[in-house]
Symmetry: C2
Subunit: 406 residues, 2 copies
């Protein structure tokens, strides 16, 4: 069971989490719990470090920031004991949860399970501080923001857990954002691959790395709400599982979107070999990630228009990098546009179904929505559109793919 | 160097502490720093634990509460690095600072100095989280409130430090409380024994245990202000040292007082063997500490009046314990009085000087102050008086013993 920051935001909520854990124990389950810092705590700690030194030592950053989870782990252990549940808190260095030495964004390498196993078999609940481990330098490491999800999945993998329940402030993964599409349905199951696409597109239910790890170790993950009660051993949320576990695959499982998109068009770029490298090289050097790319055939046959997307935060910097290289690149004009969004239909079923893209293009065309850029992967089709059509596009596609709740 | 909670209360003060440490480094010294939690933090953590469970598990209490010092240690290391000072934070489990297993009030047993030595010799400042260690169960232990002073003295002892500078919000130890006696002088030196008496009498500059440890390991401790600037290698505060280091001993070094006193008189207690045990036994069973005791000879020769003191917090409980035993004890009346204070003159010089007590009694008599109870030790004379005479008594005694500043 993993509880995020809002689920342990204050003493009352920690008591509530304890009651929830007790239910699982009472149902005869062995439980390890991973906790985040109480919400707001990590931000305060990070702010203090940054106030002292914007370019701080990552080792000391880790020492400071990991304390948030340490506090919650101890408090939850006390709350469980108060309910008569045998419980003990664990820090990364105690387990030990071994990571590489990349402080601030360490990767988990190995989890010693002997001591935890012995105690789980004795009926003791292990309350593990998320987000942290211990590096080869015998110092506290942290896994990067949102790392508690990764801690939970890694622990579940190490312990061969039947399930890894991630309690959060939503009650599952939806076919689309319910704040926009009122007919969105909660999915009872979704594949790792689909979840990865969802996560990377801004449906921030689970941290991307935790989904990758779940996929690699075949950990069954459930996303569910810590604010809704459900009987133990029930599966009220969304299960993220292997494709084999899903008997009736939907062609399209969900429609995701991202507002964090900006488009740059370079006009009349000379259409010769090496020009793409000349453009994207300087952007990569400036650590600017380029996502979608489209190149139009030019009328004159000697030049071309090149369009690509970056995150909105990178737009200004990308433009200035390209302007500096303007002479050598030889484009005519640079046209930035931050008023775009990316809409994606996602589904493992589209591997075996033709016509998924056609449905998307036709649906958008019927609504008069112009597609500016298209990119596809095996289980996803993404289009870039004008941001003013976002809600309209999502609702139309949701209906077109038969996802609407009855 | 040890910095208390008010000295590291916010980011600006932590920067200030870093500048102070840098001065010592620039003066060619090797420095280990011990830090407390930012002021207020420990209280918040303790409050959370108590809210969850008044009778909480001490192991989990330690896990939660030790995080305050961990945060400060990391922040100060960052602040030092920002000034170009090579620094590294250390938690109790990393050093390792080994304690016994008495969670919540552990005692230090051993400090591994190899790694610290190596780094100090490399010019690195060790920033050590105070108040915490690691127990035989491989879990974080804390040393009890105020334990950072003890951490600092223990570390100074382990490292054979030339001096242990305890930075606090006062600039030294005074002959008397300067808020009451305006002519009080700062002492440049005081012996361990005198400091112990001062500390146990409520002059809370240093934690009693830290002074005991300093005495046992002959650690030279300096008490000084973190808010007053002084050149490095100077000794602007008060040195707590061995008697041998003080050439010109004063007969009386200081006058301390405690308001936390309450008096209980039992009248007409039968004057026979075993009666004291019968009275103080039940109090001890109730964990009530009795301090001063005086027994008056009775007029009739068969009964006696017995007077003793407890802390004000224990008064009500002590009275109710005694009332319950009234029949078997056979006293006539029980007279509680919370309006008393204890005044003590302290000085190692009184071992070799007669007349110290006489001066005290005469001075108080001249001011018309009645002495209710007297107790003495080798280097201290304490009297209990009516609290309304406290200021008058302190000033008169301060003058009588020649302690007034010129």
């Amino acid at each position: 069971m993993k509880f995020g920051g809002t689920s342990v935001a204050d003493i009352e909520r920690i008591k509530n989490v304890a009651r929830r854990v007790k239910k699982e124990i009472d149902a005869g389950n062995q439980v390890a719990v991973v906790v985040s810092a109480m919400s707001g705590v990590t931000n305060q700690l990070v702010a203090w470090v940054n106030q002292l030194s914007p370019l701080h030592d990552a080792r000391e950053y880790d020492t400071v920031v990991a304390t948030g989870e340490q506090v919650t782990s101890g408090l939850l252990a006390v709350a469980l004991q108060e309910l008569g549940v045998n419980a003990r808190s664990w820090q990364g260095w105690q387990i030990a949860l071994k990571t590489d030495g990349v402080h601030g964004k360490a990767r988990i390498q190995q989890i010693d399970r002997d001591e935890l196993d012995r105690r789980l078999n004795d009926g003791q609940v292990a309350v593990v501080a998320g987000f942290q481990g211990i590096g080869p330098d015998n110092r506290v490491t942290t896994l990067g923001r949102g790392g508690s999800d990764t801690s939970a999945v890694a622990l579940a993998a190490a312990l061969n857990a039947e399930r890894c329940d991630i309690y959060t402030d939503v009650d599952g993964v939806y076919t689309c954002d319910p704040r926009i599409v009122s007919k969105a349905r909660k999915l009872s199951k979704i594949t790792y691959e689909e979840m990865l696409e969802m996560a990377s597109l801004g449906a921030k239910v689970l941290q991307t790395r935790s989904v990758e790890m779940a996929m690699n170790h075949r950990v069954r993950v459930q996303v569910l709400s810590s604010f809704v009660d459900a009987p133990p051993n029930s599966v009220p949320g969304t299960l993220v599982v292997d494709e084999d576990e899903i008997v009736e695959k939907e062609v399209v499982s969900g429609i995701a979107y991202s507002r964090d998109e900006a488009k740059i068009t370079l006009t009349r770029v000379s259409d010769k070999p090496g020009v793409a490298a000349a453009i994207f090289g300087p952007l990569a050097d400036a650590s600017i990630n380029v996502d979608m790319i489209v190149q139009n055939v030019s009328e004159d046959g000697r030049t071309t228009d090149l369009t690509f997307t970056v995150t909105r935060a990178d737009l200004e910097r990308a433009v200035s990098v390209l302007k500096k290289e303007a002479k050598s690149l030889g484009f005519q004009e640079i046209k930035p546009d931050a008023k775009v969004v990316k809409v994606s239909v996602i589904g493992v079923g589209m591997r075996s179904h033709a016509g998924v893209a056609l449905t998307m293009f036709r649906t958008l065309a019927e609504k008069g929505i112009n597609i500016e850029v298209i990119s596809t992967s095996e289980i996803k089709i993404s289009v870039l559109i004008d941001e003013q059509y976002l809600e309209l596009a999502l609702r139309a596609l949701h209906t077109a793919y038969g996802l609407d709740a009855a």
